[in-house]
């Protein structure tokens, strides 16, 4: 047997089927759109971060320090106002000193892969054309662990660099610009005046025009020799099994080795804050749907309270307490919220499945791709909780009004 207050609440709602259905459909649509849009937002964010995480180092150790070194006198008197003039730093070869020691240290960390790189400016010459490029020296056997360059190879392979230390890999944009093909030889000139001839052993295409036209890859030892920076690397690229540990790990590395270590989150701080702003805007818009639906519930329950003044007066004269009356109308809100969630959740799941079937050709992609949809149980829980909260809030005012009805005022007028 259904309880007394829920029983009365159900009867009230069933007596106004059309109004109840309209307000119910508001909640159902609100919950469904909340789910569909949030899954799309979550999906696009996950997709964006996945691309960001996959295509960039999780941590980059650079050949500089976050803060300039303190002079010994400043370290000795940290609280004193010290001014040291005419400091002239020593001239030295730039780069991470003793990077093999750092590499050995990093390799002891579980779930971490690292590889040194040395990048410098160079000029690539072919058939009378010269193009300025960034020459990246890397260890071919390790590069696949820390970059995704091998995923973008359209001709040759990264492994060729191991077999041929005079090999070079360049982007298809640069190859097109200089009319180069796989297997051809090109001359590279560095600012140190060194000239060396390399054989093209691989071509890549990332889809980012600037990158494809300016980046070339060669063996680290060869690049160190060309740039006259023996035993130097200017970056160490780190990849982690769990990219979300990057921020903490970067702090640890910087604390241990001193060199500036930038996590992917720090490097993309502006993008991450843009994502947060985008989420706030979208969730606000979607929540507005549920808030509008809550007004529908408020309208229905207010109407019931208005129409049922006489019944409320009778119930109170019979001995029902104010809180019994309040409960009846709050239950109506809860019932509408529950029913709205119960119908809205599967409807929202259906909408998500429908959206998963949609394929669009995005700019820069050659094939139509599915919309990125990402759904998790918390989204369902949030949608249901929000719907329940909105319905309950919408019922609160009419319920309070109903509870405050004075039976005598109504009965005098009804006689």
């Amino acid at each position: 047997m259904i309880g007394l207050s829920p029983g009365i609440a159900v009867k009230h709602l069933l007596a106004r089927q059309r109004q109840s259905l309209v307000s119910l459909s508001g909640i159902v649509l609100g919950v469904a759109f909340f789910l569909a849009v949030s899954s799309l937002m979550q999906g696009s964010e996950t997709d964006f971060i996945r691309r960001l995480v996959d295509n960039s180092p999780h941590i980059t150790i650079e050949d500089e320090f976050r803060n300039p070194h303190l002079q010994p006198v400043e370290e000795l008197y940290p609280a004193a106002a010290v001014e040291v003039r005419r400091i002239k730093p020593l001239t030295e070869t730039r780069g991470i000193r003793g990077y093999p020691r750092i590499m050995a240290g990093l390799r002891t960390v579980p779930g971490l892969r690292a590889s040194p790189m040395l990048a410098g400016q160079a000029l690539i010459s072919f058939a009378g054309k010269d193009v300025a490029v960034t020459l990246n020296g890397m260890i071919p056997a390790e590069v696949s662990d820390v970059t995704t360059i091998q995923n973008y190879m359209i001709a040759g392979s990264v492994d060729e660099l191991t077999a041929n230390s005079d090999g070079i890999i360049l982007g298809d944009g640069l190859a097109r610009k200089l009319s180069l093909t796989l297997g051809e030889n090109v001359a590279i000139t560095t600012p140190t005046g060194e000239v060396h001839t390399f054989k093209i052993v691989g071509l890549f295409h990332t889809g980012r025009a600037t990158y494809d036209e300016t980046q070339i890859f060669a063996d680290l030892k060869r690049v160190q020799a060309l740039l006259k920076r023996l035993n130097r690397a200017n970056t160490v690229i780190v990849k982690l099994d769990d990219p979300w540990r990057a921020q903490a790990m970067a702090g640890e590395i910087e604390g241990r080795f001193g060199y500036k270590s930038i996590s992917w989150q720090e490097a993309n701080e502006d993008l991450m804050s843009t994502l947060t702003t985008r989420n706030i805007i979208m969730y606000t818009v979607v929540s507005a749907v549920l808030i509008v639906a809550a007004f529908g519930i408020y309208n229905v329950i207010s109407t019931v309270v208005l129409e049922k003044q006489r019944d409320i007066a009778i119930l109170k004269s019979m001995g029902f307490l104010a809180r019994d009356i309040r409960r009846i109308f709050l239950i109506q809100g809860v019932l509408l919220g529950l029913a709205g969630s119960a119908l809205g959740l599967p409807f929202g799941a259906g909408l998500m499945l429908l959206l998963m079937q949609v394929r669009l050709k995005f700019p820069g992609s050659s094939d139509p791709l599915p919309l990125p949809i990402d759904w998790h149980w918390p989204q369902f829980a949030i949608a249901a909780a929000f719907a329940m909260g909105a319905a309950l809030c919408a019922a609160l005012l009419p319920a309070r009004k109903a509870a405050s009805v004075q039976p005598v005022d109504i009965l005098r007028g009804a006689q």
């Binding site: 047997m1 007394l4 009365i8 009867k11 009230h12 069933l14 007596a15 006489r310 019944d311 009778i314 119930l315 109170k316 004269s317 019979m318 001995g319 029902f320 307490l321 104010a322 019994d324 039976p407 005598v408 009965l411 005098r412 009804a414 006689q415």
Partner: protein, 232 residues
């Protein structure tokens, strides 16, 4: 003599405002078990207002009401509601049945709220009450499917649901034809005389009033006849 079921002393009810309106002025009365009392008077004389005060639906500006010796002035709203639920039964001019509920469900409502009986006992008692008022077989009908007289009898059954000490009726035959009026009148009189309940009926029907054990007459918010001995 036994303790009165309800006793009122110096009841006054005024509506505050720029011009104070006095609804009931210094009314004193006592009603005992098995007594059938009619309150009469012209329209606006304060009959219904006095009934609402006696029914603990309104609070007096001055004066006291004792229900079985318990001072109502000392009780908060919730306690008054509990008293109404257990000790009082109301019948109004219009039946005021809840339209979404069947006759049986309407009668069951006060019992379910009180919660002293099990569901099966509540249902059995409601059926018994309806049968005692010649409504056997009408229990599953909605109020709109019942005649005026039948609806008013359902309202009486609802008022009797929790076996109250005192039944208060406000013009219970005002909307009924002669036959139905006579029926309701007999039921209320029987409740007092055969079942020992105190019954107070507000009526402007002289025949109805003539059937009562005592008539309290009101005029200009005051009891002018039949109130507590020595009070008027």
């Amino acid at each position: 003599m036994t303790e009165p079921v309800i006793e009122a002393e110096g009841l006054t009810r005024q509506l505050p405002g720029e011009f104070t309106v006095t609804l009931v002025d210094d009314a004193s009365l006592a009603v005992h078990e098995g007594e059938f009392v009619a309150i009469t008077g012209a329209s606006g004389s304060g009959k219904s207002s006095l009934l609402y005060l006696l029914g603990l639906l309104d609070r007096p500006t001055k004066g006291h009401i004792w229900l079985r010796g318990k001072d109502a002035a000392a009780l908060d709203e919730d306690a008054l509601a509990e008293l109404r639920l257990g000790e009082l039964g109301f019948v109004f001019q219009f039946h005021f049945l809840l339209p979404e509920f069947t006759a049986l469900e309407n009668v069951m409502l006060p019992m379910r709220r009180l919660g002293r009986l099990r569901q099966s006992e509540i249902e059995a008692r409601a059926i018994e009450l309806l049968a005692s008022l010649d409504l056997a077989g009408e229990g599953n009908k909605l109020p709109k499917q019942l005649s005026g007289g039948q609806s008013q009898r359902v309202a009486i059954a609802r008022a009797l649901a929790n076996d109250p000490l005192l039944i208060l009726a406000d013009e219970p035959t005002g909307n009924l034809d002669t036959a139905a009026s006579a029926n309701v009148q007999n039921i209320l009189r029987d409740l007092a005389h055969r079942h020992g309940r105190a019954v107070i009926v507000v009526t402007h029907d002289r025949d109805f009033a003539a059937a009562a054990d005592r008539v309290i007459e009101m005029s200009d918010a005051r009891i002018v006849r039949g109130g507590r001995q020595g009070a008027s």
